[in-house]
């Protein structure tokens, strides 16, 4: 009886410890990316998030509510601080509009303006315009396995599939069990590291594992980066169509 107990215990330990590595051998980079996209992707979602922007003169918090439908439509309304309250952004495909209540004007963000940072953060408007599905943009290859934040991870090297992708290559650390990207490095075509993302906290929302606290950093720039905290997230929520119209910016 004791022998059987030991065999079962050994088998369990073996399965728990070796399980992910068996998966690593069986799952290709593309399959991992697909699961990452599936985990986070949704037909629509509503999210309230706070950005903590660390600057040279201190930190400030910007809270926003975002409605997302599909891969190419999103609407963001800034809720705080009072200075930014009422500022709205609408993304439709590859176009981005911004409404500022102080000027009572809607402007299209394009050209060099896309390179400006969003509310002084380490994120640019260009970053917001990216296709959220990694498998549409990158070829993935598992290059190693590492432990990050006490989680076993695959380290994937992503190389752009097409020529018009903003970041030529990326390196991502994907949680083997939750299929969440826990760390990401974005590189320029010449190989220079441009931006990093480090996930600090992952939570389960509606059967999905969602990074709810992350740190974005433009590594070429001095500073402590920008924290991004998800306050609430609702998947597959009902979102009226009028939200994704330019008229909604002025409402």
């Amino acid at each position: 009886m004791n022998l059987w107990k030991n065999i079962i215990l050994f088998a369990l330990i073996f399965l728990i410890t070796s399980g992910p590595s068996i998966q690593a051998q069986t799952l290709s980079g593309e399959q991992i990316l697909e699961r990452v996209d599936n985990n986070y992707g949704s037909d629509n979602k509503i999210m309230v998030a706070t950005m903590v922007i660390h600057g040279r003169r201190g930190s400030r918090e910007v809270t926003s509510k975002t409605w997302v439908k599909g891969d190419d439509r999103s609407f963001t309304e800034y809720l705080a601080p009072p200075r930014e309250k009422g500022t709205k952004m609408l993304k439709l495909g590859d176009q981005l509009w911004m409404f500022s209540p102080s000027t009572d004007r809607t402007i299209q963000i394009s050209g060099h303006m896309l390179r400006q940072s969003v509310m002084g953060s380490d994120l640019s408007y260009e970053d917001m315009m990216e296709d959220p599905k990694l498998q549409n943009m990158y070829n993935a290859q598992v290059i190693s396995e590492e432990t990050y934040m006490d989680r076993p991870c695959w380290v994937l090297e992503l190389t752009s599939l097409k020529e018009d992708i903003a970041y030529h290559s990326r390196k991502i650390w994907v949680d083997k069990e939750r299929y969440v990207v826990l760390k990401e490095d974005r590189f320029a075509k010449g190989g220079k590291l441009l931006k990093t993302t480090e996930v600090k906290k992952v939570e389960q929302i509606d059967d999905r594992w969602v990074p709810t606290h992350a740190l974005f950093k433009d590594v070429l720039k001095n500073g402590e980066g920008t924290e991004f905290r998800v306050e609430s997230m609702e998947f597959n929520a009902e979102i009226p169509e009028y939200i994704f119209t330019k008229a909604a910016l002025r409402r």
């Binding site: 060099h112 940072s117 070429l220 720039k221 001095n222």
Partner: protein, 390 residues
Amino acid sequence: MTLFKLAFKNLLGAGIRTWLNVVVLSLSFVVIIWMQGLYKGMNNQAVTSTIDVIYAGGQYWQESYDPYDPLTLQDAHGVLPDELKSLIKKEEATALLIIQGTAYPQGRMMNLLIKGIAPDQKIISIPSHFLDKETKDIPAVIGTRMSESTGLKKGDTVTLRWRDANGTFDARDATIVQVMRTTVQTIDQGQIWVPLERLRELSRMEGEATLVIVDKDIANPSKTEGWEFKSLDFLLQDIKQLVQTKTAGASIFYVILLLLAMLAIFNTQVLSIFRRRKEIGTLMAIGFTRAKVIWLFTIEGAMHAVLAALVAALYGIPFLTWFSKTGWSLPESVDSYGFAIGEKLFPVYSAGLVIGTTVLVLVVTTIVSFIPTRKIAKLKPTDALRGKSS
């Protein structure tokens, strides 16, 4: 002739009153010529240096290029047509490729224009030969203003980031090989100069350019599809308009100066007609017609301007000559006005300017001198002889 002699004698006879008027009027002369000279010098300096360093004989712009609309810049590049390639080959033109980028001096983020220029070009006076260096990093030249705002000095390295023709980010380090000193802000502030071929290769814009600058001696540039030739008249429009606006603003000052001088002359004329009624009566009694007397007084008034011109020449010529040689040291803040003047402004006085000003003052003085003399026409010789006004 008698009238002129008589007028001259009367004028000198008035003594201090005449000389006071003459000095005030001569000041107007000198100040007007001096200020006009300053504006002319400003225009000349700005035009000459801008032509030397960026416009040369004119520019061909790629059809999407609009320097006043930064949104067009990312599409403003194209493959050079054969006509322009042959001009460049004959060293009669040079190509510029301009892309938007970001620099990270000391970890700060700064949007800028990355301009590619052939290191061996001789069309514009930019020290591009410094870019002819085989280095691992991109060799780069910046202006003194850019150096000041970024804190970058010769030998420093800065990371540049840009998007290539397909929109993919690339970033490389650039080493500042030279900091150029230029009066023209349009080649300095917010930009960095790198070798053309290197930029073409890194931005995936092989054989492309944003604009082509042609040599000063190219008379009639040919028409090229997709590229529009911009003549110097067009390119220098802004500078000329700016100078015109400033000159128009300054003319208010001339008007005030002239008004003061004319007021003095008008007063003198009114006073002398009042005080010299007996003389007017006597002149009429000995056979002077009213018109002749009016002429005499008008000539007397106008002669103030002639004397003022002579006095102005006496101290004005040495002063203006000295000033045109030493120039006017400008405060540093002038540099931020966007006007390519430099540290010193050298006025330019042309013959047209001097003659024009002299004629203007003479005509205005004559008119102002004539107006009070109309009163003489109403004088009765008998009343005038008794010192009475009619």
